[in-house]
């Protein structure tokens, strides 16, 4: 059909099994990871040596910078604690921070459906501006596309981000070492559960607010204080379980975590029971894990606990051996079990 028809049409994914894209392909679990590794990474070969991380690190002149992108399709558009606009800023600045970069510039690209109310668009845009100001970034470039009625869902937003590397040493999966401690920045599951309770029309005594927030300040403080951080990862789609499984695979290490150490608020816990969800697999938008040498634990906790967004930081586990790559969980009754990668079905369109 065209001169740039590629030479090979053989799809590298098991097409018999998944002839079409399914919702779990965007869910942050196994199928999404397969799509990324078997198709996108195979075709684009972004980095022949490193492992996939929240963003790409490259040079521009003498400066090292991180570059990342995310599209946001969350439903509903407005939820307790945020909206698609603030989420589109927080998600992308957090990905930059997880690379050890100070977020500087964002792009904002809108795919609008014909008929989307103009005043809602203005509300989303103002929310993006407020979130950008709060995270210390500037939205410097953008794009607008409109699709015909019935071919979209009101509004989709893409933000890409550029940040300057602050850390000298690579903050990346390949830097994780045996003996590192895993530090979790706060309680789990509030973003996903705030969305799910809205969707399901559930009412709880305590309103559950999303944890959506910029993580730039605690992360920059950690790095600038000279704490030897090995890796950072925010806990978005697929929650803690997906993030740790991805990192275990990428670093080829075993992580052992203790369920008792992991904070989950009472309302989130109750909602998870009703909805049949595991809070450890639920999406967050303002939570991360840090990997650091055990010797840095106290300093790391002290710094994180000094910031409101990570005031509840605590150690949840350790990197225990160099193989095989998996995540084990010690349950409250002392039994150890493997925490497998979620399939990705549980919470579509959470971000």
């Amino acid at each position: 059909m065209s001169e740039n028809r590629p030479t090979s049409f053989t799809c590298p994914l098991p097409i018999d099994q998944y002839p079409t894209v399914t919702l779990p392909h965007g869910g942050g679990g196994k199928l999404m990871n397969q799509l990324i590794s078997e198709m996108f990474l195979k075709a684009f070969q972004p980095d022949e040596t490193g492992q996939p991380h929240d963003g790409a690190v490259n040079f521009l002149g003498d400066s090292r910078f991180a570059f990342t992108t995310d599209s946001y399709v969350v439903r509903p558009l407005f939820f307790p604690g945020g909206d698609i606009g603030s989420l589109a800023v927080h998600g992308t600045v957090n990905d930059l921070a997880m690379c050890g970069a100070r977020p500087l510039f964002l792009s904002a690209s809108f795919i609008l459906e014909e008929g989307f109310p103009m005043d809602l668009l203005w509300r989303v845009v103002q929310s993006m501006k407020a979130a950008a100001d709060g995270a210390g970034v500037r939205i410097v470039t953008g794009d607008t596309k409109v699709v015909d009625r019935g071919k979209g869902d009101g509004i989709y937003i893409n933000t890409a981000g550029v940040g300057e590397l602050v850390s000298e040493d690579p903050i990346a999966p390949e830097s994780i070492r045996e003996g590192d401690v895993l530090i979790l920045s706060g309680d789990l599951g509030r973003h996903g559960i705030s969305i799910m309770t809205l969707r399901e029309g559930l009412a709880f005594e305590t309103k559950i607010e999303s944890d959506s927030a910029p993580l730039v300040e605690p992360v920059m403080d950690l790095i600038e204080s000279g704490v030897a951080i090995h890796c950072l990862r925010d806990l978005t789609r697929g929650g803690l379980v997906s993030a740790l499984n991805e990192l275990a695979m990428a670093s080829r290490k075993t992580f052992h975590i203790r369920e008792k150490s992991i904070p989950v608020s009472e309302p989130v816990h109750s909602a998870c029971e009703i909805l049949g969800l595991d809070p450890l697999s639920v999406a967050n938008e303002g939570r991360f894990v840090a990997f650091a040498p055990a010797s840095e634990k106290e300093k790391c906790l002290e710094i994180l606990q000094s910031h409101p967004v990570s005031a509840d930081a605590r150690e949840i586990g350790t990197v225990v051996s160099t193989h095989p790559p998996l995540v084990t969980l010690e349950t409250p009754i002392g039994v150890t079990r493997i925490l497998p990668m979620p399939s990705g079905e549980q919470l579509p369109r959470i971000c």
Copy 2:
């Protein structure tokens, strides 16, 4: 509904007139420009001094870089001369080139609709890779979202791009000077017409191929040869007429162009007559105008004509006076008329 509810809910657009988003808001004409200037630029204030251009130019350390984004929603996905994948690469590298930057890195973010065939996705992804190789850029980071059936249209792609500034002097609307010549890089209308003839099911004796192509090589050659380029702009949505009107407004200058000098192929001309379109307002994806001092004209033409993608380059007009900001056209019979900004209705979802 949330703590980041903005303080002002008054939408800055005339909401009585356009209470909702309409297709022309994405069409590259008047309404899109109003949406951008009255809403996005007002909220985000990306650059308090400069004028909107194809990308934003900022510093990272000592390096100046350009940063740009575009979402691609073109239908049909495959067309003579390209597809949504190659377009998503060409469009973004061209925006970087128009800033005088050498494109280095792209991001790729996919919004996939549940049910989209996996082999088509693979075909698009391979086309992106081939186009990136052809343009000398690397796709280094990405994202995948899946939306439920009926909430998308198969596939939307966002690419953002980062490039390093090659030109010392700003290549931007504010650099345009009275007496500058306007040089057009080739014939107009092939991208838009190739899409429209497919959509309308029209058959012509000569198949019309999109002009979608990377413009990096001729632009880098111009700059590196020391030609004093004042401004560059690719002629996408709204074609030559939109691009020139935007630049006339941004530079506060009058441009005078001669219709006789503007190449339009015979098949495009015929198709435009049948479809009732003005080839000067039809989208291109591999064409640009350069503004340069008259003294640089010969050198500029010689360089452009040495590259296949701009072999047909020619002077089409001049910057004639410093006010008012408008575009005038001398018709083939010698009459001069104003070329107003298109409303943006004619070709939805062309890119």
